[in-house]
Symmetry: C3
Subunit: 152 residues, 3 copies
């Protein structure tokens, strides 16, 4: 009987562990203003948090820090204004994952988006960087979101 009990507890634990950890965040900007241009490359800060399950995203720094090792998907969008170019990179630690760029918009402005999937270790950081000398038009056009697809 003890052996059965041990078996059963083992099974219960296996079941529980198959429920994947939950990590997802989504943030935007809620002021309709230009951000940049700056003299140095600058991390964009999306202060309006819609979702932050797992608390990986820091709305004071704009940086997502992976709470668990796994494969994550990230999306980001920008809106380019009129007088400067836009040049924005999704960065994983120091690696460039994907990019949006747009030249001076003679027709006023353009929305754009990009995304990537990456392996992250615990503590790895992912953020959106605005290149020096370029700018975006913020507001609900600008978003940064991510989610854990599965742990590794």
């Amino acid at each position: 009987n003890v052996i059965y009990y041990v078996y059963i507890m083992y099974i219960v634990n296996s079941c529980v562990s198959t429920d994947r950890p939950k990590v997802a965040f989504s943030a935007g900007m809620n002021e309709e203003i230009y951000v940049g241009p700056f003299n140095t490359d600058t991390t964009l800060i999306y202060r309006t948090v819609h979702t932050n399950v797992g608390s990986g995203y820091n709305p004071n720094t704009g940086i997502f820090t992976a709470p668990v090792k796994g494969v994550y998907q990230f999306s980001f969008t920008t809106h380019a204004g009129a007088n400067f170019s836009t040049f924005v990179i999704l960065v994983h630690n120091i690696n460039h994952l994907s990019m949006i760029s747009d030249w001076k918009a003679m027709d006023g402005s353009n929305s754009a988006a990009n995304s990537a999937i990456a392996h992250l270790n615990v503590g790895d950081q992912v953020y959106v960087q605005l290149y020096r000398g370029t700018h975006i038009w913020s507001g609900l056009h600008s978003s940064f979101s991510g989610m854990l697809l599965f742990p590794l």
Copy 2:
């Protein structure tokens, strides 16, 4: 023996409940026409359904209604035509989640995309709204999709 049977049934149920519910939809527009401008803000209707697991999306209204409480991810895209601006919002009940805009396109046209992750209760609605006085060019450029990331 009855006690073991009860234990085992409990475990089976636990296992089954760890299999997350499945909700995902994806729809587009298959007519190459202008949609809008209209005199009032108008919900865009994506009539060509690629996927609708969980039956949350209604292709007659363009509205997704959450079948389970949870965290969902949504994506939408538009294509701007030449003679009017485009101004499109992703709406959760009455809250604006994210936006695409584009001014009159002097260079012909532009594709754009945005996305968001949000907590939804059962019955919450998410849809894409076209602002009054603006338009999009429909067809496969225009898509609206969503998925349950995990229940809460």
Copy 3:
């Protein structure tokens, strides 16, 4: 006792099978060059692989082949250059899922994105196709990613 053992093994197998299979890929282009225009419709090849869990994506052909039956989400992005239009389609076997297009960019260039969710059988193929006579500007602007949402 044998009966209990069989029950328990059944339960263990059920538990294990609730852990969804893991499939996700993400790839970009790392050369900053024009791709196209070509005389025929051409599959775009994203040679820089960030992630390829499940090995469904082939960086030599640009084609993702589904390793399991299920519902998948795909995203792709392009960047349009100046002298030709861009016309890019996400294809599932022979079906068109979604599209990005951009006319000759008088204001230099534009980034764009689209996505779709689709049911795939084992062996189904998904890829991004560049229409004949059009081109993209490659580099980190161009990405193709996909993930299994859940098996069927």
